[in-house]
Subunit: 420 residues, 2 copies
Amino acid sequence: MATAPVLPTDLTRDAALALDAADPLGAFIDEFQLPRGVVYLNGNSLGPSPKAAIARVTEAAAEEWSTGLVTSWNRAGWFQLPYRLGDRIAGLIGAEAGEVVMTDSTSLNLFRIVAAALAMRPDRRVIVMEGSNFPTDNYVIQGLIETLGRGHVIRFAEKNEIASAIGPDVAAVVLTQVHYKSSHILDMAAITAQAHAVGALAVWDLCHSAGAIPVDLNGCNVDFAVGCTYKYLNGGPGSPAFQFAAKRHHEAMTQPLTGWWGHGAPFAFERDYAPASGIGRMLTGTQPILSMVAAEAGLDIAERAGVGAAREKSRALGKLFQDLVEARLGDAGFTLGGPAQTDDRGGHIALEHVNGYPIMKALISRGVIGDFRAPTTMRFGFSPLYLRYADIWDAVDILVATMETGLWRDPAFAAVEAVT
Amino acid sequence: MATAPVLPTDLTRDAALALDAADPLGAFIDEFQLPRGVVYLNGNSLGPSPKAAIARVTEAAAEEWSTGLVTSWNRAGWFQLPYRLGDRIAGLIGAEAGEVVMTDSTSLNLFRIVAAALAMRPDRRVIVMEGSNFPTDNYVIQGLIETLGRGHVIRFAEKNEIASAIGPDVAAVVLTQVHYKSSHILDMAAITAQAHAVGALAVWDLCHSAGAIPVDLNGCNVDFAVGCTYKYLNGGPGSPAFQFAAKRHHEAMTQPLTGWWGHGAPFAFERDYAPASGIGRMLTGTQPILSMVAAEAGLDIAERAGVGAAREKSRALGKLFQDLVEARLGDAGFTLGGPAQTDDRGGHIALEHVNGYPIMKALISRGVIGDFRAPTTMRFGFSPLYLRYADIWDAVDILVATMETGLWRDPAFAAVEAVT
């Protein structure tokens, strides 16, 4: 590592700058409020703030709340936000208007959605899940089946075992399309078809898909889905999540978290619950409006950029990172923790290194922000709307320097603390 | 109504101004961003914005999110907000630190809390509720018992029937302390003792209590409670709600909505759920941070004002309104829709009038903002932190004018639309 490697022509910083100059998405970076001196490769965890989001949340607080007061529920359209923003999300994930609502957290939405699915398959007891998935999905389903007390079981299967796990005893297949750690993409169309072939329902978690890769829920005939808006959709910290239910299920669909926002006549104040028609019955209680309005700016950017163009650039950014690491750090102990082909992975790359934790801490100290997942995974996210090719080149350059100088060995980076 | 009534001396506007001049809470109005020309009597629905809330949410978006990015989960304390703000709420409702978390909506919190209570009384099947309560509480419990599928039933009882409804078959008594419509206060201490006497658990909804009247959960030996922060605590539209569980229940407590924020080691990413110790196990998923940080300003004001002083002023404001309506509108068809004594009611007053809907619309058009609940209830809230005695006088004066001029008969006020 002592001498600079000879890079292929297309791996020079000038080549990266040339790619930026020709980038049709290049202007979007100006729509984000990013700190100076930072290469932000953690948009797969929390997307950065659109400038319009800051302006919008301030406006909502200082005008709609302060001046409009309670009348803003109607006049500023607050009460309709779960539907209106849901419709915008629908357009990004291959769903129709009226099939998506924005509300609550992914975990709560998964509880509702899977409960609805299980109620539609009352004679089946098996739920197929990927055990290595981001674990809140497991926790939610574990809590749900214990609450139901009807003998449901989770059949855990890893990526290549999923097809054989889907048998005629399966009520629902509940999978995350893009793996939070390895970044591998499951085949939504094929697995959904396999589920349907045995009479099971397909539920997809889109947390690492929405805004990152093209998703075609209706094209894949998906039954239900959930996802978050604070990663690639840049909705803000903890911005409300979403639920999708295919229209064909709306009439029969029931869910346990029945509250006034899901009632057919919420302002009639009737004593007994009667569900709204359509996707509205998947709502429960009052929504956090300031967080919700802030999220619209990110949806707006995603729409204008187009998921297809964003995906192409994200693949190119990730490929550049991968090639640069291979060319410049080929003997530094890094290995890929996920698919080598861009077709097979989502918006981030997992790099494994036995010293991943202090290396990531050292990188962060130098302005390259990724994150770490124990025991050895460094995650680098390639959100295409605010990253330049030159940023990727610079990030790897800093990684090279971190390894060459041994910066990561500094005791300051050894102390273990939670890296979110 | 054609001639002005002769008012008792203490019901003049000058008397109201004198009360304002001597009001120890009078300065708090300067901490709120209120529109000019409005008397806001709907803080029992949505409290107005503290100036500090606007500044805080803008700071969180423009600094913590934009500059701190993902590191703000730790460095800005986002991940700890449910606990830290929960502890502040605890101080306002007679709970200890570590007994309250701020999270999600009241409806979702009630689902978790009542599920936890029912699991502690596995041999009992009856839940006592007030059927006229704000109905989301009913809806939530209806959904919960249908999901459990174990034969639970709700025994609906109105105020005076509650004591006799609490028998040895009761698992939990689930009541709202201050009625959303009539404003009547249920006796928390007595009813909790009645529940305990038969071995039942007591669950209280504090939506119309928190910040409005002194609440002493531990003094009353309450088991569980929920409540919202966007009414008298001025947390902002849909600001997250809270859950209380008495410490004695923490170890045995289980709940259905198990997610990663309630896990004992959320960043260990373990496959299987294991609950956090303490109140943290009542959390589920990621919280809407912008809405949450905005709510702290209102908690801060409530702490500094003191619930006792706030309650005394609220009672005085309500009594002034009541006396003025009686003196000046005694023959205009208004009747009280709730308790006549301030001891027996919360922070708002229900006025019944057969033409309540157009009268309220006319009032709103003149800057007096209350709300309406079908068929005949006009609600007027007396939040003490930003209302002056003179505001109450002016509001009634406008109500008098509305009735005398027949303004409310204007067809513009007849069209029915939802008044939230």
